[in-house]
């Protein structure tokens, strides 16, 4: 570890002329127009859609229309049944491994170009898969994959 040489420079630290806050930037309020435009667009779109659908949308209510939409089939039970927590966990696990595939595709596309230089690209993915494998072992041992 170097000695405490930096401390000797203390008196000079505070005065740092090059970092003054004018620095040749003359920002006009006009420069902010694009940002104002984006904000207006975002707010306008959200509010506009609500207002538009309120005024333009037809409001016919009959029993069939008020029925919860279940892909055309008549609903058979409550629209908010209590779902088993397993559905959520399996859903989570699915997404994790789905995203793994997303990383594998670009890797596979460039694999041939890189493997000629070094085997690093191969071991890199082996490590990535090993991390996910640990996750798989973990959820398996914790009973996530069991459905009674």
């Amino acid at each position: 570890m170097p000695e405490c040489a930096a401390l000797n420079d203390w008196p000079g630290w505070g005065i740092n002329g090059s970092r003054g806050w004018t620095h040749g930037h003359n920002i006009m309020i006009v420069d902010y127009l694009p940002i104002l435009f984006v904000i207006t667009l975002a707010v306008g779109f959200a509010v506009g859609m609500l207002v538009l659908s309120h005024f333009v949308g037809p409001r016919v209510s009959d029993p069939v229309k008020l029925m919860p939409y279940e892909s055309g089939v008549d609903p058979k039970s409550e629209s908010h049944p209590r779902l088993n927590v397993r559905y959520f966990i399996v859903g989570l696990v699915f997404i994790i491994f789905d995203i793994e595939i997303v990383f594998l595709f670009p890797w596979a596309v460039i694999f041939r170009d890189f493997i000629t230089d070094s085997s690093f690209i191969f071991w890199e993915m082996v490590f990535f898969m090993a991390v996910l494998l640990v996750g798989l072992i973990y959820i398996w041992r914790k009973g996530v994959l069991e459905w009674e």
């Binding site: 930096a6 203390w10 630290w13 806050w21 420069d31 230089d117 070094s118 690093f120 973990y138």
Partner: protein, 478 residues
């Protein structure tokens, strides 16, 4: 193309990741050796510390996405010590509440890796990655007590508000990328200095949004609302980690951004940062005055300290960078120890957290009382302790750059803070409890208390330990 050098630059992080994965695997054994898991985690921390300090690496790696040097090294040592502290504090706490599980230790290590990447990052993408690794681990840890309503509430609050603030950070990074054409620190810095970015307004707005993202993570007013509730509901050993880790990592990453990338941009935002700093220390201290719950009081104390540190960010000179790094080291160690003692005194079912529960502690356990008093005095900034020097370095840097009124406000705030820091001290030494039975000092708390003594009284005993390392770390940024 990646080289062996790239891998070696992240050896400490790799060691921690492998340990964390190993802990998860140990947890899946038929009869997990749960009482030994903490030692596995600590072994990982020690290995990472040895790799970090013993094999120093300098330069940019991974195509310039990571920059390793004195700054990241010193900060990473702080993170590793804080992570190790969080592991140690957890042992008696988790055993007391019968929740000792491998996931806890594993997640603390993952959070530590996230913090280490936040300071090593030299690209906004990596900064974001580290920030998220830290945050997601903490969301789970805060809600770790699944059967405790307060823990669930804290976890959900932290998750929702944290995800919202992440949006600000990402939007800011997107604007900066749109304006400068790069997420790399050097490229952004060059684009701003040479005025080759698309528009100053876009860069400025982007930095403002980044600032909001960081303000949430380090709990600056008005982005602090979640802090007291989350710190109170979280397991106390995690409150200790939560009030030190993300705050130190957030300020370190923000300091690097402000100094290395957005030196000019920060000057344009000075008014906003001035108000943030002034509001944060005033609201933090005034709110802390009204708290009887120690966890909430320390949460607001953390908010107030974030305000003092924001002054250093505003100044942005080499002197203030040194002050911030020194302050972060001292704040981390003292707050960790203070929460550690709170966790040791806390009883089952979240009782024993009020100031009145500390009555007569000086007789029930003199060592713990003395240590708690030392931590609180250092946080209040009494002269012989390191807390005083931390404030002195940051404030004097601000004065030399002309921020007189902000420093006047900060000093007045420090005076106010003495009242609430001394309340538990008065209770411990001058009041008597109904039940004067002795309190046991958990063995795992001892290393944390040793760290407190070394750091808080360090200026007198080991002056070079923090000062020179902080100065070298700050110097490497400029």
């Amino acid at each position: 193309m990646l080289t062996w050098g790239d891998i070696t630059s992240t050896f400490p992080e790799l060691a921690l990741v492998v340990t964390a994965l190993g802990l998860l695997l140990l947890e899946t054994l038929r009869e997990p050796p749960r009482d030994k898991l903490v030692w596995v985690g600590l072994a990982g921390i020690v290995v990472a510390l040895v790799l970090e300090v013993g094999f120093p690496v300098y330069g940019q790696f991974y195509s310039g996405m990571i920059a390793v040097g004195d700054f990241s090294r010193f900060l990473n040592v702080i993170f590793l010590v804080l992570g190790g502290g969080a592991l140690l504090l957890a042992v008696p706490y988790l055993r007391k509440t019968l929740e000792e599980r491998g996931e806890y230790y594993s997640l603390v290590l993952f959070a530590t890796v996230g913090m280490m990447f936040m300071t090593k990052a030299h690209d906004l993408a990596i900064t974001f990655l580290g920030l998220e690794l830290l945050s997601i681990s903490l969301y789970i840890l805060v809600g770790f007590y699944r059967n405790r309503v307060s823990s669930n509430e804290a976890g959900l609050k932290y998750l929702l508000l944290g995800a919202f603030s992440t949006g600000f950070f990402l939007f800011g990074a997107a604007l900066i990328y749109g304006s400068t054409g790069s997420t790399h620190y050097d490229a952004i810095s060059q684009a701003i200095l040479n005025d080759t970015h698309l528009s100053s307004a876009l860069t400025l707005t982007g930095f403002g949004l980044l600032l909001i993202g960081f303000s949430f993570k380090v709990a600056l007013v008005p982005f602090h609302m979640y802090a007291p509730d989350v710190y109170e509901g979280a397991p106390t050993s995690i409150s200790a980690f939560l009030s030190t880790g993300p705050k130190v990592a957030g300020f370190a990453a923000l300091l690097k951004l402000v100094v290395v990338v957005f030196a000019v941009t920060t000057r344009h935002w000075w008014g906003a940062i001035w108000v943030l700093a002034a509001l944060t220390m005033t609201v933090g201290n005034l709110s802390a005055l009204r708290q009887d719950n120690l966890k909430r009081m320390l949460a607001y104390s953390g908010v107030a300290h974030a305000g003092y540190l924001a002054i250093g960010i505003l100044v942005g000179s080499l002197e203030s960078a040194f002050g911030i790094i020194y302050y972060l080291a001292v704040y981390g160690a003292t707050t960790l120890a203070a929460f550690g003692i709170v966790a040791a005194i806390e009883k089952e079912n979240e009782a024993g957290l009020e100031v009145t529960d500390y009555r007569g502690l000086a007789r029930r356990n003199p060592v713990m009382a003395a240590m708690f008093a030392l931590a609180l005095l250092s946080l209040a900034g009494f002269p012989p302790t390191a807390g005083f020097f931390g404030k002195f370095f940051v404030f004097s840097a601000a004065v030399s750059e002309g921020y007189i009124w902000l420093v006047v406000l900060a000093v007045l705030n420090s005076l106010v803070s003495v009242y609430y820091y001394l309340r538990p001290v008065v209770a411990m030494y001058m009041e008597t409890a109904d039940d004067e039975s002795p309190v046991v000092l958990p063995a795992t708390l001892v290393p944390v208390l040793v760290l407190l003594v070394v750091v808080a009284l360090g200026m007198g005993v080991f002056p070079m330990l923090l000062v020179s390392n902080s100065a070298v770390a700050a110097g490497s940024l400029f």
